[in-house]
C-alpha cells in the first residue's frame, strides 16, 4: 500500500524532472560541477533569462557567429571580393569575404574558418529584426529593446556568443556590425 | 538472552552469535540488519533503542546488545 504510494511519488518526481531541459544553457562557464564539490552548484542556477544569439539571414543562408564558413561558401559561391589578412607572425589567417551589401570576416581555428564578424556595407539589406543602415535609434530600441550598452555613439546588444553593434552619427545609423564574442585572435 | 540470539539467528543463520564479538567491525551486521534488529527487539522486549545507542560498541556482540537492552528496560 504505502509502497505503491511511494512509487507514484517517485514517478511524479521524474515527470516533473522531465520538464527541465534548459540547464545546459550558458556555454560561457567552463566550471565543473562534480559530485564532491557539492557547492559549485552556483554554476547551474537555472537560468531562465532568455539570452539570444544575433544571427543574420543573408540570401536564405543563416550566418551565425562562430559558425563554420565552409558550408556558407558552398551556398553563396565566390565572393565579389576576397581579402586575407596575414596577421603578424601568422597566427592563422583572418579572411574577409565581401558579398553585395555585407562583409563577412572569419578567424581560423584548427584549420577551419569561423565567422568572427559581419559588417553591413549599404542599406540594401536589414537585420533579421528589421533594422537598416541610416535608420534611427528608435528603430533599434523598437526591436531590440533598451538593454544596450552605450560607448560613445556605439550601441551594443550582447547575446550569449554574439553581439550586435550600431554606430549612430547625427541621429543616423551609420554602421551595423555583428561580432562574435570570445574570439581568441584580436586581429583587425 | 536466548530470545535475542533467536532474533539474531533469524537474520543470519550462519553466524555463531554466542561467541562472535566483531559483528560490526567485520560487517557481519550491516545497517539494514541493525534496523530490522531494533524493530524486532522493539516488538519482542518492548524497548526502543534510540539512534544514539546505535554504535559499534553496543552491537559488536550479542552480549553487548543484551546488556544494552537490559539497561534500557529499567
Amino acid at each position: 500500500m504505502k509502497k505503491i504510494k511511494l512509487m507514484v511519488f517517485l514517478l511524479m518526481l521524474f515527470m516533473i524532472g522531465c520538464s527541465n531541459e534548459q540547464q545546459e544553457t550558458t556555454i560561457k562557464d567552463t566550471t565543473e560541477i562534480t559530485l564532491e564539490t557539492a557547492d559549485s552548484q552556483e554554476v547551474i542556477t537555472h537560468d531562465n533569462s532568455v539570452v539570444k544569439e544575433f544571427t543574420l539571414t543573408f540570401r536564405d543562408v543563416q550566418l551565425t557567429m562562430h559558425g563554420n564558413m565552409l558550408p556558407i561558401l558552398e551556398v553563396l559561391g565566390e565572393p565579389d571580393f576576397y581579402f586575407e589578412a596575414e596577421s603578424c607572425a601568422f597566427q592563422g589567417l583572418d579572411k574577409t569575404f565581401t558579398y553585395g551589401g555585407i562583409e563577412i570576416h572569419t578567424y581560423e581555428s584548427h584549420g577551419k574558418d569561423y565567422i568572427s564578424s559581419i559588417l553591413f556595407l549599404d542599406d540594401t539589406l536589414e537585420t533579421n529584426e528589421g533594422v537598416v543602415l541610416f535608420g534611427s535609434l528608435d528603430d533599434i530600441v523598437k526591436v531590440y529593446g533598451e538593454t544596450y550598452t552605450e560607448d560613445f555613439s556605439l550601441y551594443t546588444f550582447e547575446g550569449i556568443n554574439s553581439k550586435i553593434n550600431f554606430l549612430i552619427e547625427n541621429d543616423e545609423i551609420t554602421s551595423i556590425e555583428y561580432v562574435a564574442l570570445y574570439v581568441e585572435d584580436q586581429q583587425e | 538472552m536466548n530470545d535475542l540470539i533467536e532474533i539474531l539467528e533469524e537474520l543470519h543463520a550462519d553466524v555463531d552469535f554466542k561467541n562472535c564479538v566483531t559483528l560490526i567491525d567485520h560487517n557481519i551486521l550491516d545497517s539494514f540488519d541493525i534496523i530490522t534488529l531494533v524493530a524486532d527487539i522493539n516488538s519482542e522486549f518492548d524497548v526502543t533503542i534510540p539512534a544514539e545507542e546505535i554504535i559499534p560498541e553496543n552491537f559488536n556482540s550479542a552480549k553487548a546488545l543484551y546488556a544494552l537492552v537490559e539497561r534500557l528496560m529499567e
Binding site: 596575414e86 596577421s87 607572425a89 560613445f152 556605439l154 584580436q186 | -
Partner: protein, 355 residues
C-alpha cells in the same frame, strides 16, 4: 638531522638541475615557422654600438633593412621589434637597450598606439620571452599580462611550456642552448611577392581617440629619450592594411607638434619612396618584402641624413669588418630565398643558410 639536510640539498640540486635543462628543452625555439619569436633575443649577440634604434611591431622589422642603411649611409642600426609589439613593450625594450648603449636616434612606429590594452598571450610571449632578465622585463611583463596570466609563468617559462614535451622537434634539441642567426640586425627578410588586390573598406569606429595608456607610454618614451639625449622620431610605415585612420594620423601630428618631435607618415610618401604594392609586398599590402624594405630604407636614410648628423662609420675598420660579415649573410640569405622561390614557388626553410 645533518645527514637529512645534506640529502635534501642534494635532491634539491638534482631537481633544479633537471628543471633547468627541461626548461631549455621545452621552450619554443622559433627557428622555423614562426621565427618572429626569436627577434628580440637576437639583440644580445651584438657587440658594436648602434647609432639608430628602431622600436615597434612588424611595421618596423619587416620594412627597414639596416644593411641597406649601412651600405648607403654607413649608419649602424638595429631593430628591436616583434610581432604585435605593444607600446609599453616597446618602451621597456627601449629602457633596457639604454642600459647597453645610447643611440643617436630612436625611431618608433606608431601603429601600436591603437592597442590600449594587452591583446594576446601568444604575442606577449614572442616579445617578452626573448628579453634578458632585468627590472625592465618585469615591468614589461606586468604591463602586458592579460587578467588570466601570472608573472611566475614568465619568470619560469617552464610552467608555461611544460606541455610542449609532446610536440618536441629536432629543433628543440639542436638549438637548446644557442640559436642560428635568422635576422639582419632585427630585420626579418622576405623576398617573395604577393601583390595587393583588394583592401576591405574602412570600418567606422565609434571613437578614434587613442587610449590613455597608449599616450601615457608615448609620453614616457618621449621623456626617456629626452633624459638620455636621444632624438625620438615617430613614423607610420607605408602599409595599406591594417587601416590607419586620418583621425589617428591627426593625433600623431598634434602630439609631434606639442613635443616638437618629427613625425613621418610614410603612407603619404609611397610614390616618392618608389614603393609599388604590386612588387614590394609579400602579403598583399600588410608588410613590405625585401625590395620594398630596401627602397624604404634608402628613402628614410635620406631623411635621417638631412635631419641629423649621424656618423658614417664605413671608414672605421672595426665596424666595416663586422658589417661586411653582416651583409654577406644578408645576401646569402637573399639568394637562398630567391633560389627557393624559383625552385619551389615559395620560401620553404626560413633562414636555412650556411653562414
Amino acid at each position: 638531522m645533518k645527514k637529512k639536510i645534506i640529502l635534501l640539498s642534494i635532491s634539491a640540486i638534482l631537481l633544479f638541475g633537471a628543471l633547468f635543462l627541461l626548461e631549455k628543452l621545452l621552450m619554443p625555439k622559433h627557428v622555423s615557422g614562426i621565427v618572429e619569436g626569436s627577434l628580440i633575443e637576437s639583440y644580445y649577440n651584438e657587440k658594436l654600438k648602434h647609432d639608430i634604434l628602431f622600436v615597434g611591431d612588424c611595421e618596423v622589422y619587416e620594412n627597414f633593412s639596416p644593411v641597406t642603411l649601412w651600405e648607403n649611409y654607413g649608419y649602424t642600426s638595429f631593430i628591436r621589434g616583434s610581432a604585435q609589439q605593444l607600446i609599453w613593450q616597446s618602451y621597456y625594450l627601449l629602457e633596457e637597450t639604454f642600459e647597453y648603449e645610447k643611440p643617436d636616434v630612436v625611431v618608433f612606429n606608431v601603429l601600436a598606439m591603437k592597442y590600449d590594452t594587452p591583446q594576446k598571450e601568444a604575442y606577449n610571449r614572442m616579445t617578452l620571452d626573448g628579453m634578458a632578465f632585468s627590472k625592465s622585463k618585469l615591468e614589461a611583463i606586468n604591463a602586458s599580462m592579460l587578467p588570466e596570466e601570472h608573472m611566475i609563468d614568465y619568470i619560469f617559462p617552464f610552467l608555461r611550456y611544460h606541455s610542449r614535451w609532446s610536440s618536441l622537434t629536432k629543433d628543440d634539441f639542436q638549438y637548446m642552448f644557442s640559436k642560428k642567426p635568422l635576422f639582419h640586425n632585427g630585420y626579418y627578410m622576405r623576398v617573395d611577392v604577393k601583390p595587393v588586390e583588394y583592401i576591405p573598406k574602412k570600418k567606422k569606429l565609434s571613437n578614434y581617440e587613442f587610449g590613455e595608456f597608449s599616450y601615457k607610454y608615448l609620453e614616457m618614451m618621449t621623456n626617456l629619450c629626452k633624459e638620455n639625449g636621444v632624438e625620438l622620431v615617430l613614423i607610420k610605415s607605408p602599409t595599406l592594411y591594417p587601416v590607419w585612420y586620418d583621425e589617428w594620423d591627426q593625433q600623431m601630428i598634434d602630439y609631434a607638434k606639442d613635443h616638437n618631435l618629427m613625425y613621418f607618415n610614410f603612407i603619404d610618401h609611397i610614390e616618392e619612396a618608389g614603393i609599388d604594392f604590386n612588387t614590394d609586398t609579400y602579403d598583399a599590402g600588410l608588410h613590405l618584402n625585401i625590395t620594398g624594405a630596401e627602397k624604404m630604407s634608402l628613402y628614410f636614410g635620406e631623411i635621417l641624413k638631412e635631419q641629423f648628423d649621424i656618423i658614417d662609420r664605413r671608414n672605421d675598420p672595426v665596424y666595416a669588418e663586422a658589417w661586411i660579415e653582416k651583409s654577406t649573410f644578408y645576401y646569402k640569405m637573399r639568394d637562398q630565398q630567391y633560389h627557393e622561390l624559383e625552385t619551389y614557388g615559395e620560401i620553404m626553410m626560413y633562414g636555412e643558410v650556411v653562414k
